[in-house]
Every structure is written in C-alpha cells, then in structure tokens.
Symmetry: C2
C-alpha cells in the first residue's frame, strides 16, 4: 500500500493569533499499521479551540511541536487492522491528527456505532456532546428553576449545554459574540436570553438577563466573561470550567479575573475544571440519553461542516474568531484505498 496521502505539519508555533501559515501541507506515504495498530481513513476532522491550546504548551496532553503532524480528533473508517477489536469497515474516533490516513494503536481508539448522519458522531454523540452533558450534569449540577449561564453559547459545546439546561427546566442565558448569534440562540434554540459580549462591558447586560443571579456558570472562555459571571453568582453556585478560549489565541493574559478567591469564599462557590474523559466510565448511558433527546426533538443538532481536507488551517483560524455556530468539522474526501 505505498500510496501517498496529504497531511498538515506544524510549521511554526504562533506567538499571537493563529494564522493559516503556521501549518504546511505535504504529501507523505500512507503508513503501514504495526502490530496492535489500526489503519484509518479519516472521514471528519474535528475543529476545537483546544487545538490552539495544545500549541501553547503541555496541557492534559503533550504540546504540539513544530515538525510534527498537527494533532486533532477525527472520525475514521478502518482500512486495515492489526488489533483484534477492530475490523475493516468499522468506525473509530481518536486523535488521528490532520492527515487523511493514520496508523493508531487500537487501545487509543474509541469504537463508534454507525449512525445517520455520520457527522453526529463528531458533534452531539462525540466529545462535544459528551463534554456538554457531563460538564453540565456532573460539574454544574443544575436544578430546575435555577439560572444557567453558558459562554461561547453558539459554539459546539455551548449550544448543547444550553439546550440540555432547557430540558432540565433551567432559565438559560447564553453569552455569544454579535447580535446575529444572540438572536439565533433565543429564537432558534429557545434560550431565555442572550448577552452579546462584543457590545461593550457586559456586567449590566448579564445582570439584566439574570435577575435572580447565577446558579451555574458553564465557562468556555475565561477572562472578562468569567469575571462578570463570578460577581453575579449566587451562594453555593457552581462554575464548570471547560475551557478558556479567550486566552488560547494570544500570549497568556497578564492577570486573572478579579474576585478570585474572594468571591469564591464569600459565596461558597465550587469552581471545577474537568475533561470529558474523567467521566467516560458512564459514556454509554450518556449517549443513550443524548440519542433519546435528539430523537424526541429536544436537542437540535447544530453542525458546521466544511468540505475539503485542504481547508483545515483556515477552518481552525475561523473557529478561533468565532465564525462557527455549533460543531465545526472538516469533511475529508480521501480516495478509498484498495
């Protein structure tokens, strides 16, 4: 199988905002799977703010270094397998990287059950949906009648968090950038209110949207939005720290939000970071619940699918600029190997 494929290598680590020329497209041989590995053809590559964070240094995974294939989650179809649990034609997801074909240890893969459309395995039934589900339910612990605020609310995780909040009977307030997104959150997704963080200091608009204060804040962004929410938390409130995208695409911020730890003490808050894998022991039950909600029309699946492998760098740059609504992914149309 000495065929060639395309891949993106990290050309340089950005110091400020990410640009597409931080990546270099190159041809490379399709790899041969070693013992225990699986050869996959990527179908959908996930774009995530975390991709950018990985370029800043070590996080819950090693940093992405210049010269290496760009890291990224993807859904792939098994082409060949030297791992007993995977057979050709099956689906699997994992960190396949920004390449059309990858050879990955079977133990680093998650087997996926085929659904229609397949893209849902990267959105509501993928890391995105599960992050929303576990982060909100396990970390946020919302109760009916409470006020839930979610930032990056029109984004991949945020929109699902808000929709689950509505199912649970919360007052749901989304924070998003721009009037169009805010309008979409309330009119199309059924949020109770939306606050535009680009329309100037948002403390007052957030307060107007949360007349009873905030019980649960699902934070995807950090920075000024975190600070505005922190000061409006109710006693015994919970902040689920899912990401800090406001700090990913630039040098580290010179200071953190005011009110830390003072507000945390005075209001007896719980502020907790998590990654979705912490809860994977209960993945099957979570997926069953998400599938039921989608089937019953309670969750609208919002996807932003960009066609063509070559568009990956620009797709990530755009995501960091807030272009997307819902889950952004790139559809790969690699030739099927024989």
């Amino acid at each position: 199988m000495s065929q060639t494929q395309r891949r993106f290598v990290v050309a340089r680590v950005p110091t400020g905002a990410l640009t597409a020329d931080c990546f270099r497209l190159e041809d490379a041989p399709v790899p041969e799977p070693k013992e225990g590995e699986v050869l996959l053809r990527s179908l959908y590559v996930s774009l995530d703010a975390a991709n950018r964070a990985w370029m800043q240094g070590a996080t819950y995974r090693a940093a992405v270094e210049p010269g290496s294939v760009m890291a990224g989650g993807a859904l792939g179809e098994v082409v060949a397998s030297r791992h007993p649990q995977f057979k050709p034609g099956e689906l699997a997801s994992g960190d396949l990287g920004w390449q059309e074909y990858s050879a990955v240890p079977g133990k680093a893969l998650l087997k996926e059950t085929r659904v229609e459309p397949l893209s849902h395995l990267q959105s509501v039934y993928g890391i995105t949906g599960l992050t929303a589900y576990f982060g909100l339910l396990e970390v946020g612990q919302p109760k009916a009648g409470e006020t839930l605020v979610v930032s990056a609310a029109a984004g991949a995780v945020g929109n699902v968090v808000g929709q689950i909040g509505k199912i649970l009977g919360c007052r749901v307030v989304g924070v998003a950038g721009g009037d169009a997104k805010c309008h979409w959150l309330t009119e199309t997704l059924g949020f109770d209110a939306a606050v535009d963080y680009k329309a100037g200091p948002m403390y007052k608009s957030l307060k107007a949207a949360c007349p009873q204060g905030i019980d649960v804040y699902f934070d995807n962004v950090g920075g000024d939005v975190f600070e505005a929410a922190l000061f409006q938390m109710n006693a015994r409130g919970r902040i689920a720290c899912c990401g800090a995208v406001s700090g990913y695409d630039s040098a580290p911020p010179p200071h953190g939000p005011r009110g830390v730890p003072g507000m945390i003490v005075v209001k007896r808050l719980t502020v907790r970071g998590f990654i979705v894998m912490d809860f994977f022991a209960r993945r099957a039950a979570a997926l069953a619940q998400l599938q039921a909600w989608v089937r019953d029309g309670k969750i609208r699946v919002v996807e932003d699918v960009i066609d063509g492998f070559e568009n990956l760098p620009q797709a990530l740059v755009g995501l960091l600029h807030g272009e997307n609504r819902g889950k952004r992914m790139v559809k790969v149309r690699g030739q099927v190997l024989h």
Copy 2:
C-alpha cells in the same frame, strides 16, 4: 440592672489599612434581655481577619456600618436568660460584638460545654478549629502521602490545618511571613517545610518545598500566594478557599491571580469556598475528634491571649499585620453583675 458597660463602636470605615482610631470606646447601659433573648457577659472576644472583611461590605453577613457596635465572635457566660434553653452560669458563643455585655436571641447562640482552659472554646474547639477541621477534611480531602500547602500557616486556622495534615500522613508545607514563624512551624509544630512569603517572590521556594507538586492547597490569603500555589497544583488537586486576607486590609486588588481559569481546566482542579457553618450538622463528631487529638498530644493548642477589653482595636490591627501565632483573642475582665 441599670449598670454601665464598655463597648466599641465603628467610628469610620477604613479605606486603606485599618487603624485603631476607626473604633470609638464608649460607655453604654447594660442591655435588658427581651423575650427570647439571653444576657451574656463576654469572657473572650475572638479576633479574626474576617472582622476586617465585614468592614468592606456585605459578605455572608451584612456589612458592619459606622455607628454600630463592632461585630465579633465571643464566648460569654449567661447572666440572665429569657430563652428556655439557657440558664445563668452556662456558656455560649456567638456574635456578641465588641462589648462587655450583650443581649442576644437564644437561637443565634451556640451552647458551649465548659472545658479547661476556657480559651480553648475560642481556639481549637471554636470556629477556628472547626474551620480547619472541616475545610481540610471535607473540602481539601487529603490522602496520606499527598502534599498539603497551607497559607497563613502560623495563624489561628493555618496552624491547626497543618497539624491535622501531619496526623493524616501528608507532607505539610506552611507559608508564613518571616523567618521566625517559618522556623517555629518546622521546629515546634512539626511541619515538613515552611516558605517565607516575605523573602521575595516565592514561586521557586514553594517549588523546592513541594518536589512532588501540590495536591491540596488550603488558602487563607489569596493574591500572590494563591497564584504561586495554583501553578504548582497536581492534576485533580483541591484548593480549599477559606479566606483572602491579603485583600482584606486594603482597597480591592486591581486583578486576580493569573492562571484562572486556565490552570483549573488543564489540571482539572476543584476550587471551593466554604464557611464552617455549612458543616455544623456534624459539629459534635468533629469536636470529639479534635478533643481526642488534643488529649493525645497530637495537636498543640496555640493561643495568643491579650488581656483587657480596651485593647481590642490594636489587637485586630496587629492581627492584620501578622503579629499573632495561633488564635488571637482578648480576655475581658468585666465586673460580674449582681
């Protein structure tokens, strides 16, 4: 009983560091208890950093306003009672304020069992000891072999936190101001290491004291110490937010610690504020455990008792400057009423 007593009234709210002239000593009539109230003679008045925080605005209690008697916890002896659960000669604690005699609703009082010496009811068996106990065990959740860092470690709560940490088998590192306190923590209280936050930027000295990173940080101070600890937390670490004394005695800090929420996400930390009353359902069991540890010589009770009611303002000012080791309180020698 139209006798007079002494009390301290808040003369003005400080804008910067607290000074003794923010309080005014005045004579006032000993109050008559109303139906449901108890008349108490104060024996020991507790000095707490929280006293200063109450002068900054509403916290978990209403702000202390000019013209009112200064608020403060105290241990008192019942002189007269119009509440069925209290009898003359019994002991009770509560917010009796900075006055020799107080009439307080019985339901706002906690009955205390006489111990020898009585001062222990304000230190290890009072709010102080219980805050250390519940904050460390319930919020910090330390395990044997883990590294525990506690700030304001020579203070009332901090020294007990560290001593309990040693009982539980943790590596205990105290942060305190000055070489003398640090030496005392390691030589007298048995801490494994101590870091002097006054000896310059403490990131490196903290790192040297915590070669395995930090699993539990018990925070009494906020600010730079919080930031230094945050960046050295291990994955799934816990930060118990007990107070933020670094920000109490000055205008609010212009910024919060860096790394919030980024470090919280990446390291999946739990950062939780608490007040001791949240755990009072289990107060009796906690007291029994503390008493056993004191009896067995595992906890050394450290008290800083200042004689004379008139010394209250200076005692608080000094506490905020870090004068004390262990629990500071003022012993009141009010005349016994007949």
